[in-house]
Subunit: 509 residues, 2 copies
């Protein structure tokens, strides 16, 4: 594509001019707006113009984030007064930013997400066949991804010369909030099915919790179908038959992978918006980057940010305005007015950012004729995400400690010798039940084929049947091990909760 | 498709008869063979017939695994004498089996893999356009997946009322062996590129180790191009442009997802074989299941198992025989002789299991004309997988303990109050550095927006700059906490290795 093939500057038509309305300041909702880097300012300007023309009742408060703030020495790309605006408005519409390469800089997105507890990532991925080329016509899936916990809590330790560990944390409030978010989203957006993707055949406790909560909360929504996939097969199915899915709810890591698959399949990374929603604040942004090579040329596609703004309007209970914009945008695609990134056989005119925005504005009030029109109500979904309001902590379970896993760094042990040594050292009241290496039982009755690292998990349990132990037993055990120069690198207590085992058995146990 | 449309019983042609050769018993390699359940016996019989006709020098030892063994009370679906055969032959060709539904049964595959240390899963996924319908002509990717560690070590603990944990373990020997396997595979199979897929922008230590080892070992193979993808983008790219990839090496969980995506994309789950290779034993099997609904009808596609057998022959240094079979099989596809599962516009005759095997036998010695013929040499790849032989444990690093993360179960704490309490309780020599909740720093200088579970990670570090601590300090800390009824659920020591920090900082630290 050459620049000359793109219509950058549209003629102002009377139709567009009359459709633009002044922003009704009286009822305007303050929203924080970040123009970002690269193509950010251009697509933000186009988006705000459409919002204004459509009658969105917004009072944008611009903040400066990204490259300039990084350069000014803010390692997270954001200054204190920007946080203040965010806390006040509780809503951020954000254009893409550039995180500088090299060490010492932190991702602004991760910082905002973690700091403000944006626990739900919502990413609709639709194809717009035949108007935008795609291999998957009929695809219209929304990925609802848990956004705070799982392996992304970032708790990592090097434990021995050979072994590194990362903690995967899955919590009941985390599961409850994201699952409820997914079902509320489905209900308020007229969707019929929520699919849970987990690997609970392997991770029976962590992913098992996620799935149990899915069934538990899903039962409160009898109008919505529930479906479950093991994530490997689910990802494969999504990659080949995405039109089978409606709403997908999944933990953080799987969601990261699945949402990138979905966006790329739809053939429209430039068309997808997303929401990051928390109890206090919500952030709306396109899923694409700042594309510095396109910056300043006026050719970028504002659609991802525009659809993010549509999600923001729904969040702010301005559903009718959202609907006007979304339908006018669909009509623009149908009419073949396309930016260069989605050019295809149905393109009638390849246009720039400003022209495209103007074309959407001209179509405000119109609906698509082939694609399905959207409907949003002025009522926001019941606030499913207000954690404190929605998550009810249950009464504590009856917890009883029955043992402890002690992890030992030892390069030269054989399982038999290590076991013999540990059995000599254990205090009365505890017995050594097993030793595993990378999860495989190597004592008792290990197999000579098992490859062993320098990292041993040694399970001590109460010596009496149905007995319990106290922290003092563990401390005595640790003291004896320390005295004998056994290098303990970590412990995990073994507990029952209301009589139910709170730990997995060893493989082969 | 109706049964009558399938040619089940081929006429015996002279050509096929003359091409079958007697098995040369003198040089035969013993291999253990499991006929499995469902369609297993049919496709195994067809596969063995082709192997024999092609002159494979094999002495099959049948063992009984699967449904009958489960029914006989073997919870892992395998009896002791079968283990004996496996240990003797060190090679297993396995048809699919059925694991009974319901509790108490263990997956035979997981048992074999873990027990015998089959650390490398190798899964080639190719499309055979235009002869087999696929959206991705030109796809020919091999996924080399680490098979023993990562989250699949199965170490899970419920730690509090609200929080469950699974350990992700990544080890240097695990990384070295799988990465070397991938590069050796690439070199011996004439492949040009190995792509590493990890999430090391988030998991800097665990996935960071995997990637570091990839670079380290990959440098020994200057003839092979190295490439790296973050797994979310990599999975999306694989799902949309699989023909860009050659060999992919990746940890266990990602590999599980990526290999299912690749198999499904190729449009040929019924055509894909796989190898599970360890230091002592290797297992070869189709990737599909036992399809009980098709059992006994003579219509199943034996190709997945046949291509697994081809991989086995290469492993056994019978590359020329493997080549004869693989090329004859490609020619059969080209000739439009297809089982019903791959029926498409290029199908000239839809045939059953036996007929298909016979068609392959008839074409032994022929090569495909459109598809690319394969070449295997009679020399097996240098045994990259002999862990003991290949993995050289390095000298131990200088390890120094500088602190400890103590995890506390506490439902009613505020970060400030908890910190105050812990600071009062800490022994001399240790200071409280921070508290995080699900990885987010909540003390000092936490934010009121951060949602907190009942699971607190409290980091204590040596009170002197550059100081170290001993196990006695940790034990004293634990004793003081126990005395004050602080419910410690786990500990992780903080160490440096050769002066380098062996633990991640808290988010916001």
């Amino acid at each position: 594509m050459t620049a000359t093939a793109v219509d950058l500057h549209p003629p102002t038509t009377r139709s567009a001019a009359t459709r633009e309305r002044a922003l009704p300041d009286s009822a305007a909702t303050p929203v924080t707006v970040a123009h970002g880097d690269g193509i950010g300012p251009e697509i933000m300007e186009a988006t705000l113009r459409v919002l204004s023309a459509a009658g969105a009742r917004l009072a944008p408060e611009p903040i400066d984030v990204g490259a300039r703030m990084y350069a000014a020495g803010h390692t997270s790309g954001i200054a204190d007064d920007a946080w203040d605006s965010l806390r006040r408005t509780r809503v951020l519409l954000k254009a893409p930013i550039s995180t500088p390469a090299g060490g010492g800089y932190k991702s602004l997105n991760v910082t905002i997400r973690k700091t403000l507890g944006l626990h739900a990532n919502v990413r609709p991925c639709a194809s717009y066949a035949p108007f935008v080329p795609t291999r998957h016509p009929g695809m219209d899936v929304v990925i609802v991804r848990e956004n705070e916990e799982d392996l992304y809590a970032g708790i990592e330790h090097r434990q021995t010369d050979e072994v590194y560990q990362c903690l995967k944390l899955i919590t009941r409030p985390g599961c409850e909030r994201i699952v409820r978010h997914a079902f509320e989203y489905a209900r308020s957006h007229g969707r019929r099915k929520v699919t849970c993707m987990v690997k609970d055949n392997i991770m029976k406790m962590t992913d098992g919790l996620f799935y149990a909560v899915f069934e538990e909360i899903g039962a409160e929504y009898p109008d919505i179908e529930r479906e479950r996939y093991i994530v490997d097969i689910g990802a494969a199915r999504l990659a080949t038959r995405p039109e089978q899915f409606d709403v997908i709810v999944t933990p953080n890591l799987y969601g990261d992978i699945l949402s990138d698959i979905a966006a790329e399949l739809a053939g429209s990374v430039g068309l997808a918006g997303s929401a990051n929603v928390g109890e206090h604040v919500a952030m709306f942004e396109a899923i694409h980057g700042s594309a510095p090579d396109l910056a300043g040329k006026g050719v970028a596609n504002p659609s991802g940010l525009l659809l993010s703004a549509v999600m923001m309007l729904v969040h702010l209970r301005q559903g009718r305005v959202a609907e006007r914009i979304h339908n006018a945008w669909l009509r623009t695609l149908e009419d073949g007015i396309h930016t260069a990134d989605v050019k295809g056989p149905h393109t009638r005119r390849t246009v720039g950012t400003e022209y495209f925005a103007r074309a959407v504005i001209e179509r405000l009030g119109e609906s698509p004729r082939t694609l399905r029109p959207v409907t949003y109500r002025d009522v926001a979904p019941r606030r499913p995400t207000s954690g404190a309001g929605n998550y009810q902590r249950r009464p504590a379970a009856r917890k009883a400690m029955v043992g402890v896993d002690v992890f030992v760094h030892e390069a030269h042990a054989s399982p038999e010798l290590l076991a013999e040594r540990l059995r000599r050292l254990r205090p009365p009241g505890l017995s050594l039940q097993m030793i595993t290496n990378r999860g495989v039982k190597v004592w008792p009755n290990g197999l000579p084929e098992t490859f062993c690292t320098d990292h041993w998990r040694c399970r001590f349990v109460t010596a009496q049947a149905d007995g319990t132990i106290g922290h003092d037993s563990i401390i005595e055990l640790l003291a004896r091990l320390a005295h004998a120069d056994v290098d303990v690198i970590k412990t995990e207590t073994l507990c029952t909760f209301d009589g139910e085992r709170g730990y997995a058995l060893g493989q082969g146990q």
